[in-house]
Symmetry: C2
Subunit: 194 residues, 2 copies
DNA sequence: TCGTCACGTTAACGCTCATTCACGTTAGCG
DNA sequence: CGCTAACGTGAATGAGCGTTAACGTGACGA
């Protein structure tokens, strides 16, 4: 009879510390022993919790993509009005980027280090998330077509995800309204740009 | 008497191919043999041109930072009016990001893989470049203080550097005006955001 | 109380990879 | 013409690291 783990923390702890380390040094810049040391166990103990180093990364990136997509779908279900939806999406994404800068960093830096299957999975989730934005932009009349909307969406992500670069010197509660306002106006610029 | 290299191309060729490979697979995801193969020589031949793999990366990143800083200083010298300077900076940076997406990618992904000395050098150059933007933003009255201006500058970089993510599906000459307009409006949003 | 399973540990294996070595080859300069 | 320096090559070296193996240990269910 499978024992239920009293401490579900170990897995989460590993994921969290690994994210911190991956963000700082990159996937290949961190060793299994390094991750182990960060959580107070040594090296190969990780294989009791994850099938491989790549598997650990996969779970992390899939988790992020699923979280973002779920959040996007939630907002889309709540708001019929595309302008209101965009506002909600901006708030949601900015909040995530400010709260989890390491995850943001790892997500768009170490995607290439995923095994093929997982990478396709993550790409698919990301694409679906982008499509929510694209759809909202087109319906809101901010972008004339999907291509422009996609460029705009990626640009907005780049803007909001700049957080890891300026965070460290800047408190989140001062950066948040700035990023939100900038993203909103950047997206509105799509209208006049074409 | 030192012979002048007939083919100055080899060095440039290596730098260029290495940039492409680093951008796609990351610094640690590319081997010396891989870089060699990409330019048609094999493995250790690179040591005739660079002191080490890290040295190669260092030259690449220092080159980028110097190019950006030089471009920024040029624009700053040409434009006394801060608003005009900002327009010139946006055009300059967007153009660079669209023309050299691989360099942009490598620059903000593999900085951590530099040896300490080179990393400090690059960071210093980057800081100086950022300060040109910060100064222009403050003088143009778009940001109330340097801290807000810094957040805004990093956000603008994130926006313009989003190019590698959307490029590939989008032609540069359609993306350029979109990114320019978005960046301009994003920066103007700093005024009302505070 | 006993077996089992979750969770660790240390040592060993094997592979990748940056770097060095010993050794050509070609082209210009004196 | 011959010396030298630029530029390559293929083989050897040595370190780092992911992964596996062999071996505890303590707690909980039967």
């Amino acid at each position: 009879m499978p024992r239920v783990p009293v401490t579900t923390s170990r897995r989460e702890q590993i994921l969290s510390e690994a994210a911190r380390l991956f963000a700082r040094h990159g996937f290949h810049g961190v060793s299994i022993d390094g991750i182990g040391a960060a959580v107070g166990v040594s090296g190969p103990a990780l294989y009791r919790h994850f099938p491989s180093k790549e598997g650990l990364l996969a779970e992390m990136l899939v988790g992020i993509s699923e979280h973002l997509l779920a959040g996007g779908q939630e907002r889309a279900a709540e708001h019929a009005d595309p302008a209101a939806l965009l506002e909600a999406l901006i708030a949601f994404h900015t909040d995530f980027a400010l709260r989890q800068p390491e995850l943001i960093t790892v997500q768009d830096r170490d995607l290439a280090n995923l095994p093929d299957v997982a990478r396709r999975r993550v790409r698919g989730l990301q694409r679906a998330y982008v499509e929510i934005w694209v759809d909202a932009l087109v319906r809101a009349g901010l972008a004339p077509g999907e291509e422009t909307a996609r460029v705009g969406a990626h640009a907005a992500f780049g803007l909001m995800n700049s957080t890891p670069r300026s965070a460290g010197h800047t408190r989140a509660d001062v950066a948040a309204p700035v990023l939100v306002a900038m993203t909103r106006d950047a997206l509105h610029a799509l209208r006049s740009a074409t």
